[in-house]
């Protein structure tokens, strides 16, 4: 019988090849995080060492320095056709998480440049490294997921997932393809370990803390951890019950809980 990781890998590679065959103008969205780096690795494997389509990095200007270093090093080593998309104008005007709400900031610095690059390059499909276990909202995601002009995902009206039978493509802006959908956080780390995939150093413990998910520096917090190697991260995840994105707003929740308990005479 095929081992678990190989069967996961096979499913992902099948989807990547299928997508490359179906769409004229495909690209990969690379956040430099562990998931999209794993996806990039799988694309390399799917096409025998060379990624045959562009790799897009949305640069908000607020990423950790370690992320830029990693991006530039591996874009060169792996011979990637790297497109850095960025809302230079807005960053120049001082847009950022200090100035506006998080949602607005993401919209301005992530969604807007992505829309521009999709239009400019005529991109019809994007390979994205999301996983179903990441967040409640991902539970309904499909491997092939249509987005409209406003990038909205209408989960109530998704086409049936039959490999060859998409509904009319005319109303869609682009398709998102999720070859890692069936993998969990633990699967990803186990696969990284097996394949010896390089990942950004922020994931490993420094002075008792490490990042479990990485993105823009102002919106990410490290967690207490002693895990300084992939093996130790896997071990740590096995004992962990918190979600990947948990712990960020714990203080706020505690204050709220305290208020609720006090209102009922506890505390």
């Amino acid at each position: 019988m095929m081992d678990h990781l190989t069967s996961l890998e096979n499913r992902s590679i099948f989807i990547i090849r299928e997508a490359y065959f179906k769409f004229k103008n495909i690209a990969l969205l690379w956040s430099i995080g562990k998931d999209s780096t794993t996806l990039l690795w799988l694309c390399k494997k799917a096409f025998f060492g060379t990624v045959p389509f562009p790799v897009i990095h949305i640069d908000t200007g607020y990423k950790f320095p370690e992320i830029y270093k990693f991006r530039d090093e591996y874009a060169r080593k792996w011979g990637l056709d790297l497109i850095v998309a960025s809302n230079l104008e807005k960053i120049g005007q001082g847009a950022g998480p200090e100035k506006s709400a998080k949602f607005e900031c993401c919209n301005l610095l992530k969604t807007a440049p992505l829309k521009e690059i999709i239009a400019a390059r005529g991109i019809d499909s994007l390979l994205v490294g999301i996983r179903r276990d990441e967040h409640g909202i991902r539970a309904k995601e499909r491997y092939f997921s249509p987005r409209d002009d406003t990038f909205r995902w209408n989960y109530r009206d998704q086409p049936a997932e039959l490999w060859d039978q998409y509904k009319s493509m005319e109303e869609e802006n682009h398709f998102r393809i999720h070859p890692l959908l069936h993998m969990t956080e633990k699967d990803i780390w186990a696969y990284i370990q097996r394949e010896d995939i390089p990942v950004c150093e922020l994931y490993f413990s420094r002075s008792g803390k490490r990042y479990r998910s990485i993105g823009c520096a102002p919106c990410c917090g490290p967690e207490d951890s002693q895990a300084s190697s992939v093996g130790e991260i896997i071990e740590e995840l096995e004992g962990s019950r918190t979600s990947e994105r948990a712990g960020r707003s714990q203080d706020k929740e505690d204050v709220y809980t305290m208020q609720k308990l006090r209102a009922l005479g506890y505390m």
Binding site: G136, Y155, E253, Y256, K260, L261, G265
Partner: protein, 449 residues
Amino acid sequence: MKKKCLVAGLDGVPYTLLKKYIEKGILPNLASILNNGFALSQMDASLPDVSSTSWASFITGANPGEHGIYGFMDLKPGSYQIYFPDYSSIKAPALWEILGKTGDDKKSSLSQAYNGKLHKPRRSVVLNVPQTNPAVPMNGVLAAGFVALDLKKAVYPDSAFQYLSSMEYSIDVDSDLAKDQKEIFLKELLGSFDKRKRAFRHFFQNEDWDLFIAAITETDRLHHFFYDAALDESHPFHEIFVDFYRDLDRFLGELYKAFLEKAGKDGLFMAISDHGFTKIKSEVYVNAFLQKEGFLRLRREGRFFERIDEGTRAFALDPCRIHINMEGKFPKGSVAAAKRDSVMEEITGALFALRDESGQKVMSSVFRGDEIYNGGEKDRGPDLLFLPNDGFDLKGILKEEKIFGKRHFTGMHTRHDAHCVLPDSVPLNGKKPRIEDMAKVILDYFVSA
């Protein structure tokens, strides 16, 4: 017909009140259910009788020594720092995890007893059960109850969140209103109950389920602030209180009828509460008493239990979980292992001697943690647990300096007066049922042919 079980969870509804209201003709639907093959029994809540512990005991069929929930608030191991346990703190699998074949990294004596006996995975809808936040993926639908801040995190899957947010469902009413805006509080309470009923109906009809657990919290909230109105006909809020129960009874009748249509006579219908309620005579601030008797020393600085100073021998967490300040267990532990029993005896003697100004004894019984708790979480539990006589609401807060007091709360929890409504066919063998026994009743139902 496919096997189906429905549990109506009536938070804080006492057995004795149901009895009295049935006699007065206030609850005709419940009375008719009881005339059709069901029995209403008095039930013991968990120890302690707080909602988080009692509901955790119901959903896991385990005692706190095994599931790990001793209250809404607890101390981080080896420290005086407080934290608020949530669903991830529950160490035993819930009914829907055992039946749904999910949560397989969790085990309990109950889940192991049914290992191999439950064949096909069953789907559950679990609505508003306290202590189930944040929602984790499970086989079915779950909308967590108290305490949850963010509806999105409280609900699984996302389609259920979309529905609940579209109908402006609220997890809990704002109980702060009850302090000085009683009419507004009651209006909101009724509004929140209406939304709750709509949500229950929606999932009842539109989801495919084998187990349906629907918990109603509004009863507990009403009781905390208006329990003095329950039986006092001259109370300005008596009519409102009784009307609420009439409405609750109509809803129970509706649920039962809908359940009969869906599940037939072979379905398992039951109602339970997580604790009872009684009127408050006085609140009792146990830590103030421990301070006065020289067991507890507090500094002015620090947050909550981090105020504990050198020389402290014991302290109380809500409602009266006494922890002995043991050497090696707590940072400022001062009691050596050999002295533990004598300190426990000393505290028991002192607390049993405590009387209010009318001379009434405050405490009714005491349990040793190592006698009532068993399982992997036993060591985190209290050394002693006291239960009061009805009317004395024990509090583990630190900021009160006097021992007795009264605030705007008029109702308090009781352990001995929870209720359960079960089919006559479920044998109780002459024993008073306990809330942690109910999970077994449900699992047995799904096992038997």
